[in-house]
Each structure stands twice: as structure tokens, then as C-alpha cells.
Symmetry: C2
Subunit: 255 residues, 2 copies
């Protein structure tokens, strides 16, 4: 099933039954499994498919010459990994599996066909790309302006919002299979300091983190300490205004 993708796109535009059926069939393409801590795709490669994550978590990451590593994005079920594949010549970063993952490898023709027969779904995919850009900008703010505790709180808020959008958050609890080291590589903070900050968040009853489960008992409070505003995720079906337009020839990413 590609249920997570469908749930996400449902937040963007109003999909037809036909669109939904098409999304389900996407998950039957060319399934691939990748073990935890392996790379799906490496910097420099030019893969021939777009990977849709069906199950498990992955990261976009890049290593500097001297070994420092930055995680630039977390990819969760319903996310498409390698947008660039059919345009850019090669990957400028790698994608690694955080857990064992299952992906569907979508061929170019699938997208050509969506463009022809499912214009609204195409709009939703463009929307998704723009949201990725917005998320990346928000990370820039996070790393540039926020303190360690704010950064981590903000990231947790974001992950909760995204997981909720794909149906992976129940009762204020999410399965979030990342280590404190992963978190440190995403936030640009030392693992040791991440640990201290996590203790602090626990001390203030803002999060409960045990094993791979994070529970947020008081989301408004967490959002306040993170100064989190979810507008950049562009969820909440504010895309109803697209319903009228079915043109297939919108600008790149839908300018």
C-alpha cells in the first residue's frame, strides 16, 4: 500500500477516486528492500528510478572531506526520495536507511502517465516538492538562529506534524526510530550536548522518549518552546483553490 503517500497528498488537494486508485498501484512497482544503515543511493550516482518510501525511515545526508556528516532531511513513509533523477545528471548527496526500509522504485513512465491522466495528482506532487523546499528553508532558520533546546524541540514538532499527516501519530505518540547521534547530525549539535538537552526537555515534561517512541504530553507547550509555526508545511488542504485548474502545463514545480 502507498497509503501514506495518499494521506499526505490528501492534505494538499482533493483527489478523485481514480487518483487514489492510481496511488495504490504505485506501491506495486518494483519493490526493493534496504537494510538499516546502508545507503539506497550514493552521491555521484544517477539512479534510474524515483524511490517512494513505503515503510521505514531514511535520511538525506552528505559527508565533508574530513568526516563531519550532516543529515539534511528525514524521509518517512510516503516520501519520494530522489526528485532529481530525471533532470539532474547526478546525485549531489546520498540517501541512507535509518531502519530496514521498503521502497517502490517508480520508473519515469509512471510520472509521464500521471502527468497525462491525473493532473490533480500531478499538482499535489509539485506541491510536495515545494513543501520540501520550505522544510529545507526552515531547517536553515533552525540551524542559524535557534538555541540547542529550541532546535531539538522544533525538529520534534516538525516530525510530529509530518507523521500525523501520514497517519503515523496516535495519542500524541510517534514511533521515531532515530538515535541521539542521528539527532545530533541533523541539528548540528554534539551528541553529548543533545543528550543533555533531551534530559532538559524531559525534566520540563515536554517530551517522554523511551526506546524508539516519543510521546508529547503537551504539544502547545512544546511548540511554544520551539517557536514552532506549521505554516511552512502547507498542510490543511488549503489547496482547494486548485480544484478548478486541470491544466497539465503548469510551470516547473508549479510557479
Amino acid at each position: 500500500m502507498a497509503d501514506h503517500l495518499r494521506l499526505k497528498l490528501d492534505h494538499y488537494v482533493r483527489l478523485s477516486a481514480d487518483d487514489r486508485a492510481r496511488i495504490s498501484t504505485l506501491a506495486q512497482c518494483n519493490i526493493r528492500h534496504v537494510r538499516s544503515r546502508r545507503d539506497l543511493i550514493r552521491e555521484g550516482e544517477q539512479p534510474q528510478f524515483v524511490n517512494l518510501i513505503l515503510d521505514g525511515w531514511a535520511v538525506r545526508h552528505k559527508m565533508l572531506e574530513d568526516g563531519r556528516r550532516q543529515i539534511m532531511a528525514f524521509l518517512i513513509p510516503g516520501d519520494l526520495c530522489d526528485l532529481d533523477v530525471f533532470i539532474l545528471k547526478e546525485m549531489d548527496h546520498s540517501i541512507g536507511a535509518l531502519t530496514d526500509i521498503t521502497v517502490a522504485q517508480l520508473p519515469r513512465e509512471a510520472f509521464d502517465e500521471i502527468g497525462r491522466k491525473h493532473p490533480r495528482m500531478m499538482q499535489a506532487l509539485k506541491w510536495d516538492l515545494l513543501v520540501q523546499l520550505a522544510i529545507q528553508r526552515e531547517w536553515t532558520i533552525n540551524l542559524g538562529q535557534r538555541s540547542a533546546i529550541e532546535r531539538i524541540a522544533h525538529l520534534i514538532c516538525e516530525l510530529f506534524a509530518r507523521l500525523k499527516a501520514v497517519g503515523l501519530c496516535v495519542d500524541g505518540t510517534c514511533h521515531i526510530p532515530i538515535t541521539q547521534t542521528d539527532l545530533s547530525e541533523a541539528t548540528g549539535i554534539t551528541p553529548v550536548h543533545v543528550n543533555r538537552v533531551v534530559q532538559e526537555l524531559r525534566g520540563e515534561k515536554l517530551i517522554e522518549w523511551k526506546g524508539r517512541e516519543i510521546h508529547v504530553p503537551d504539544m502547545p507547550a512544546l511548540k511554544r518552546t520551539a517557536m514552532f509555526n506549521d505554516n511552512y508545511l502547507h498542510l490543511e488542504q488549503d489547496g482547494a483553490h486548485l480544484d478548478a485548474s486541470e491544466t497539465g502545463n503548469a510551470p516547473p514545480g508549479g510557479r
Copy 2:
């Protein structure tokens, strides 16, 4: 003239004479002037045009509730500002003018027409969007992993590469109309500390910065201290492989 845009797109794909002619006419759309330090577009608005910068510099920026401000991108001549306009409901950030600027306000129809009649140019615009994403990811690395001196050196390398691609770098010198305060808001460093780092870069003969001109006498040396690798800009016309494909129905951003 929209010469800067044409020069940039030339780095991505092989444009036809017809495409080039079309780009030139873009610059005749609906010209608007904005004074230095004013916003072109504010967070929350939904503008009706895509702004193409013909002359001057702008920034994407966002302010936190408590007044901290982050610059998330520098926009130079040839850049398109507000991709989201025809898809997303409202801006999640603002765009401000660093200098007096001139923009062409492109209507939706212009893009519809490009999609129909200039497929290769459309590819180039999608490419440009993906490069923006890549730049934003690189900023994430910059802020997350690099020291103050590396960050500033890296940003200067990036600006030089981008300016060169649109014909605005001569003899290792660029006109870069930003203050040290702007630089501090882009790199997440204090203005005071930016100053010290700039002194240090001067001391090591890596840059000469006077007024609004920056000269880099030894680019390889600057790149070394920044650990700069330009692969993420995807310049160098590696898009020749797109020449064969003229389909208008590529996926969003060209997946």
C-alpha cells in the same frame, strides 16, 4: 534584458534560438521597481505573479517572534523569486530588496505558454528549481557543520560561482552589495564575530573586500578553506542528456 536568466539556463540545457528570443521578451513583462530595504512580498501574502529579478539583489528571509532574523537565500539577477505562487496558498516567508531592484512580474499564462511551446526551456526552469533545493541543502550543511570562517568562505565561493554563471564576475572580482550584518544573518553568526572572521580572511589574503566589491585573488585557496565543492550547483551544461527528450509531461520538478 533578461540576459542573466538566459546565461544561467544556458548552463543547464542547450536552448534554441527561439527559446532565447522568448527569454528576452520575458523582461518586458510588467516591470516593477522596489527600493532598497523594502519587502517585495511578505509572509502570508499570495502574490499573483512570479518575480524575475532583472537588476539588483534580494533575500528570502523570515523573522522569529522574538525578532531574530534569518536570511535563507540571496537572490541575484536572473533569479525567480516566488516559485510557489501558482500552487501554494500563501508565502511562508518574505522577500526583501537589499538594493534598489528591478523585477519583471510574470503572469501565469507566460508559464503555460512556455510549457506548450518551449519544452526545453521548461526543463531548464525545473532544473533551476532543483538547484535551489540543492543550495538550500548546502546551507543546511554550512550552518550545521562548518566553523565561522568556513561558513563565510563557503558562502563567498557560492556567490562567486553563481555570479559567474550569470556573467557578473570579472577578473575574480564581484559586486556584492551586502553588509556584514546581512552576512551575519545569512550565516547565523553575530555581526561582531563576522567582522573578526572577515579580518582573518583578509589577513590570510583570501579575500579583498572594499565597499561593495569583493576580490578573490586565489580562488582555489578560498575553496580549500571552505571545503567548497560546486557539484550541487549543477552548472557546466551537464544537461546535454536532456536534448533528446522534448516531452512536456515530465514529473513535478522533473522527477
